[in-house]
């Protein structure tokens, strides 16, 4: 792409110019409900792209359907608001032919895990290079308040007046089951953490999936307040970092692995020493499988704290890298395509 000035748009930039303030907001009015957690995510994504000095024209946002899926309209980048659940498939096609672009996929718990459940797992196993932001608010917002595949059992919603009887998905366990190469969780109420995780996701080559706890203040207000409110956050959350022991409650408690079983222990004097705690290793697939399973209902006595951060990273080659290699190999073996030879085929005969 040319590095001269873009016409009428963003000035072109050369890598190494250093951060320049670029406004990634589009001219469209943001139409989420006042107080929606989506605003915070939009802001952090725009900030990250600015910080990383991305060129607007090389960024594409693709979404499905739902409140979160309006996201592309608010970005001054290329954007495609597609149909319910199918964004992963559009992303796969786009990345197959345009590995040069920075592609972001915006989805929600209904879009990704219900109607699009079959697509998200295949996106992950193929490891298409895209940053997937899964806004989880445990409710259908745009359709005005039905339970979603992540709503807890018993959830009373407009479609479950007697409480939901469906067992919910544990999204990251599902994602791990599909062999995702980058698994993380963050929350709308912790912008700094979200920005760090977004940056990690963007740096990863392959499908980076971040589950973001996002409050729907209209239909499911306070769904994650145990994890986000100052009073309860320390006891109920654990922020994992590579190479660091799993501690929470301001360092007073930790998690230790008894074989395959995680247990909560005290870490202050007389308790378990830090080196005996579970040391987070984001490259360890077995530990990651246990980590995604820390999914207790926080209302239960003795519940495990809910982990946040980067759970797992794997450098498996991307789908498009393998695809490009096959095309290159085919060209090397057979030579660039010759249409006349192709039309002619292998057996011909001539009639005078």
């Amino acid at each position: 792409m040319s590095t001269t000035n873009g016409i009428g748009g963003t000035p072109g930039r050369t890598p190494g110019d250093g951060p320049v303030k670029i406004d990634f907001s589009s001219d469209q009015e943001v139409r989420w409900c006042p107080g929606c957690g989506d605003y915070s995510i939009l802001k952090q994504v725009q900030t990250l792209l600015e910080q990383n000095g991305k060129k607007k024209e090389e960024v594409v946002f693709i979404s499905g359907i739902g409140c979160s899926s309006r996201f592309p309209y608010y970005m001054d980048t290329y954007g495609l608001h597609s149909i319910h659940g199918r964004a992963p498939a559009l992303v796969s096609g786009l990345r197959s032919v345009r590995p040069d672009l920075s592609v972001w996929m915006i989805t929600g718990d209904g879009d990704a895990l219900s109607i699009g459940g079959n697509h998200i797992i295949h996106l992950l196993r193929r490891n298409v290079d895209v940053n997937v932001l899964l806004f989880n608010n445990e409710i259908y917002g745009l359709t005005k308040g039905q339970y979603s595949p992540t709503s807890p059992e018993g959830a009373v919603t407009r479609s479950t007046p007697m409480g939901s009887i469906d067992h919910p998905f544990n999204p990251l366990a599902l994602v791990k089951g599909a062999d995702a190469t980058f698994i993380a969780r963050s929350m709308d109420r912790d912008p700094k953490h979200m920005r760090e995780i977004l940056a990690r996701a963007d740096a990863h080559r392959g499908t980076s999936l971040i589950e973001i706890y996002q409050n729907c203040n209209v239909f499911n207000d306070g769904a994650f307040e145990t994890f986000t409110e100052k009073a309860s956050k320390p006891q109920h959350t654990i922020f994992v970092e590579h190479g660091r022991p799993l501690t929470f409650a301001n360092g007073t408690r930790g998690i230790k692995l008894n074989g395959m079983t995680p247990v909560i222990v005290d870490t202050y004097a007389g308790g378990t020493s830090l080196e005996d705690l579970w040391i987070h290793d984001e490259r360890d697939p077995y530990k990651a499988s246990i980590l995604v399973r820390l999914f207790d209902d926080p209302r239960i006595e003795g519940a495990m704290p809910r982990p946040f951060g980067v759970f797992y990273v794997n450098d498996r080659p991307t789908h498009e890298a393998k695809l490009t290699a096959q095309v290159a190999q085919a060209k090397e073996r057979k030579g660039a395509g010759d249409l006349d030879a192709l039309l002619k085929g292998e057996h011909t005969w001539t009639i005078a």
Partner: protein, 629 residues
């Protein structure tokens, strides 16, 4: 190898229809296609009809497991695989029972006697103690009994292969024999075998031996007193190859992408009878072709839309049930106004229907089957060669008019083959994508600012200054921003419809396939009924009837000359392999009292069925709205 060839008389035939039939594991399709290629290479005109069960290995010896391959070849122009066959080659009793009705009175049966033992007769459903080979029930045919199994085994004595593997060479024995019978060389098949079994010398050797043994058997056996000869057809001079409809579709799509200078992205989910397009395209990665076997039909089309958004030519194909799943995404592509080709290789429906049989019952699905008003151009191929032409045109329309296009073919022409005087790439039209490189309204880029044809520009991601957002929500005229304005919605619905309607401006004038420019009766056909209608029309015209034939390639929007043409005949007959879908469309559009000839049996029309229907309509007291028995 030298053998004394006895002098047997050779009779010349203008054209021959031969039907090979046996168990689906007998190698019938291979035998048929090899004999086809041999004849085509010799210079005959050919048309084929492979017909096989949906099961890969249906129960052996049963009627359900019979696989057939019908070939019509001649020294004259050939348009169909033939209504009835002259020669029926059957590997077992079930194959005879299933196909005897297709054999002409006085035709020849070549029967593998080993396939007529008690067990096979019972499985085929013959009465206890009945044996058609001996009980005289086939007296009105020429019956030739050959113990193919035994003769093949004898020919392969001394090879190290097991009995089962030896028996797998039976089809080569049969092919060698048929080659002898029709004065053809084994050379093409020998070359094929060398390529196929080059790495398995024992298997290669056995197949070669069986092939030669079959040939010599014809020569030495006392049973066969006559050979036949079918001279080359007076075909236009040039270089030919053989092509199936699915190959034609694949090559047409690829040629279109090349002439548009676009990479081809093919998103597809396996389905009969469309999968061969995927197989063919996946072999051509050196053309920059990307084939993506998606997780389902929805992902197949959605990935193709994503690829088109990125600047490639997105294509998807399926058959009826898969197309149904793609419907919502077709609406998205229509709303985005992005190039996309959707191929429907139709099969018998509804639901899973008849996967390996043919039908034309997805016309309404193609033309009307979307929510909201989402008109998409629909075009149809009429022959295997036409699959190439129409696939190329589908690319042309999609790219130059920024729209999804549906191409209808069907199982009959998809698997059938004919000789193709293939074009040179320089003779194919250049295709011009409406790419845009800079803002189109001062400093501003308006993604839905249309040209005089109503076509919007194609702005690829990566270009500075052209950032824009598009989606399935109703958009404001010109800007593409979300708009719920009532007047804007009506305007946009009309603008999109008008853009598609204007595609008819580029069609060539409508042309009769045969017959007088006005008269008694016009046969209107579309799709794979072409060969049968053409054959019947030419015959009727020779017989002095005032009958013309027009074949519709553009089913939506129609050719502007179609309406006036329909008015020039006293009667209009529309043969379709459905209950009358085109008929209803033409009646609605042109207020014409068209009559239907409708066959919904999963099998193509015979030309005789068409002819009989025309004669009935032309009689003083026609039975209105004829259907076949």
């Amino acid at each position: 190898m030298t053998t004394t060839l006895k002098n047997k008389p050779v009779e010349t035939r203008a054209n021959v229809v031969i039907l090979f039939a046996g168990d689906s594991g007998d190698g019938i399709q291979l035998t048929g296609s090899q004999f086809t290629d041999t004849n085509a290479l010799f210079g005959n005109d050919v048309s084929t009809f492979p017909n096989f069960p949906a099961e890969i290995r249906a129960p052996q010896g049963t009627l359900a497991g019979v696989s057939g391959y019908q070939l019509h070849f001649g020294s004259v122009e050939i348009f169909t695989p033939g209504d009835q066959c002259d020669v029926l080659v059957v590997m077992n009793a079930a194959a005879l029972k299933a196909n005897l009705g297709k054999l002409k009175r006085g035709g020849s049966i070549i029967a593998n006697t080993d396939g007529f033992d008690r067990k096979n007769l019972r499985l085929a459903g013959y009465a206890e103690d009945a044996d058609p080979l001996t009980d005289g029930s086939l007296a009105s045919f020429h019956l030739h009994c050959v113990d193919v199994t035994k003769l093949t085994r004898t020919a392969l004595e001394g090879t190290t292969l097991g009995m089962k593997e030896k028996d797998r060479c039976k089809n080569m024995f049969v092919l060698g024999f048929i080659n002898w019978m029709y004065s053809r060389e084994n050379a093409l098949t020998e070359g094929f075998l060398r390529k196929k079994f080059g790495k398995k010398p024992e298997v290669l050797d056995a197949n070669m031996k069986a092939l030669v043994a079959g040939y010599h058997y014809g020569d030495t056996s006392e049973t066969f007193t006559t050979r036949f000869e079918v001279k080359p057809a007076p075909m236009p001079s040039g270089t030919y190859r053989s092509i199936t409809g699915n190959q034609g579709t694949a090559l047409g799509l690829l040629a279109g992408a090349q002439k548009a200078k676009l990479d081809l992205f093919y998103g597809s989910y396996p389905i009969t009878p469309a999968s061969d397009i995927l197989h063919e395209l996946s072999r051509h990665k050196n053309f920059g072709v990307i084939t993506f076997q998606a997780e389902d039909e929805i992902a197949a089309i959605s990935s193709a839309i994503g690829a088109s958004y990125g600047g490639a030519l997105g294509i998807t194909a399926s058959s009826g049930p898969g197309i149904a799943l793609k419907t919502e995404a077709m609406g998205l592509a229509f709303m985005l106004e992005i190039p996309l080709v959707i191929v429907n290789v139709q099969r018998g429906g509804p639901s899973t229907g008849l996967p390996t049989r043919t039908e034309q019952a997805d016309l309404w699905q193609a033309v009307f089957g979307r929510n909201g008003e989402a008109p998409i151009p629909v075009i149809a191929a009429s022959t295997p060669i036409d699959c190439f032409e129409m696939a190329f045109e589908a690319v042309q329309l999609a790219v130059e008019h920024m729209t999804p296009v549906i191409l209808l073919t069907d199982g009959y022409i998809a698997n059938g083959s004919e000789p193709w005087r293939f074009p040179a790439s320089r003779d194919l039209a250049e295709i011009k994508p409406p790419f845009i490189k800079e803002p189109n309204d001062g400093d501003i880029f308006l993604p839905y600012l249309r040209d005089e044809r109503g076509v919007r520009p194609w702005a690829l991601p990566g270009q500075p200054g052209l950032q824009h957002r598009i989606g399935g929500i109703e958009k404001q005229d010109r800007t593409g921003n979300i708009s719920y304005d009532p007047a804007n919605h009506e305007k946009m619905v009309r603008l999109r419809a008008e853009k598609v309607a204007r595609i008819a401006d580029r069609y060539k004038p409508i042309r009769l396939d045969s017959g007088p420019t006005e008269g008694e009766l016009l046969i209107v056909g579309w799709g794979s009924t072409y060969g049968a209608i053409r054959t019947a029309s030419l015959q009727l015209q020779q017989e002095g009837y005032s009958v013309a034939h027009v074949h519709i390639r553009h089913l939506f929007p129609f050719n502007k000359g179609l309406g006036p043409l329909l008015k020039k005949y006293r009667k209009v007959l529309i043969p379709e392999m459905n209950s009358g879908q085109l008929r209803q469309m033409l009646r609605a559009e042109f207020l014409v009292d068209a009559q239907g000839l409708n066959k919904i049996q999963g099998m193509p029309f015979t030309s005789e069925e068409i002819r009989a229907s025309v004669l009935d309509l032309l009689s003083p007291t026609p039975k209105v709205s004829a259907t076949t028995a």
